[in-house]
């Protein structure tokens, strides 16, 4: 894309309104603008890069096809994030039922090796590292609660766990993150 393309400066709402009318370039701007965050989110949910790309591509495609469902054009990001969440959860459910969890690479495990923990000065970098260091189950619950806004019951249903387990995972995640971020108050 051309660097002085005025669409690059347009608000999400304008881009959505154009894309609903068939403007593919406007949708491209939306995909490039929000894609990176969605990929990281999907990776954190799934614990793998390969699947996260598929999930994000698929989510944006669904976003394109269902764009007229979006009531408030300014809320494109949370809307796409919900789509990504659902598709990531579908993947997780399929994995559980196919018992291949053990074969999936977890970037969190790599990050836990002490020599790989980069010294972080910025608060957000520290938060990212902390999230990355959470065990996968706790991180998933955390993201579903705090980023996707799912209720405890919804999380339990989606991850096929008892609500009490979800409560425990969230409490542990919250405690860990609080301690990690204490130094930044």
């Amino acid at each position: 894309m051309d660097h002085d393309d005025p669409l690059l400066r347009a608000e999400d709402a304008t881009l959505v309104v154009r894309a609903v009318e068939g403007d593919v370039r406007a949708f491209e701007v939306l995909a490039r603008r929000h894609g990176p965050v969605m990929r990281l989110y999907a990776e954190q949910m799934l614990g793998s890069n390969v699947e996260s790309d598929d999930v994000v591509q698929d989510s944006f495609l669904t976003g394109w096809r269902r764009l007229s469902d979006l009531n408030d054009p300014a809320r494109f990001r949370p809307w796409v994030m919900q789509i990504v969440t659902r598709k990531a959860l579908d993947r997780l459910r399929r994995r559980r039922h196919h018992d291949d969890v053990d074969t999936v690479q977890h970037p969190a495990e790599v990050a836990r090796q002490p020599e790989r923990i980069v010294e972080t000065r910025m608060q957000l970098d520290a938060m990212w590292t902390a999230l990355d260091r959470l065990p996968a189950d706790q991180r998933r619950c955390w993201l579903l609660r705090e980023t996707a806004g799912y209720s405890y019951q919804q999380i339990a249903d989606e991850l096929e766990l008892p609500v009490s387990t979800v409560r425990g995972l969230l409490a542990r995640a919250r405690r860990f993150l609080t301690v990690e971020m204490e130094a930044w108050r």
Binding site: A13, T14, V17, R18, E21, N71, D72, P73
Partner: protein
């Protein structure tokens, strides 16, 4: 200002832009001779042709135009878009969220072509075949 009054004002304003030879409703007319059909359509409702569409709080304006060969079409349509935008901003106090203008027809072709006129005319012609 009612939507109908706005559409009427916009139709007038568009017609006054140099290079515009006609204004059409934006609902697509699926017909091979769309140009001919569009002119008869215009005769039925001559003055309220610009689409004023409200979708929740979003205001979208749509217009179809015919332009004259005498002025480069991109210049004409840009001016039309800007006049619409400015009129809506001025008359309704709320800016339009989207203004769509589509050129449906380029008319008046037939004079001798000045082949050095287009900025890249020479460069665009590839090797014959």
């Amino acid at each position: 200002m009612s939507d109908e009054a706005l559409s009427r004002a916009l139709t007038d304003r568009i017609r006054s832009v140099p290079g515009v030879t006609g204004v059409y409703p934006t609902r697509p007319i699926v017909h091979a001779a769309a140009e001919a059909v569009a002119s008869t359509f215009a005769l039925q409702e001559p003055d309220v042709l610009v689409d004023v569409h409200r979708d929740g709080s979003a205001l979208r304006i749509g217009a179809g135009i015919a332009v004259d060969d005498a002025r480069p079409a991109p210049e004409t349509v840009r001016e039309v878009g800007e006049r619409i935008r400015d009129l809506v901003d001025e008359r309704t106090g709320a800016p339009a969220d989207l203004v769509e203008v589509t050129i449906r027809l380029v008319e008046g072709i037939g004079g001798p072509v000045d082949e050095s006129a287009g900025p890249d005319a020479g460069e665009h012609v590839a090797t014959p075949g």
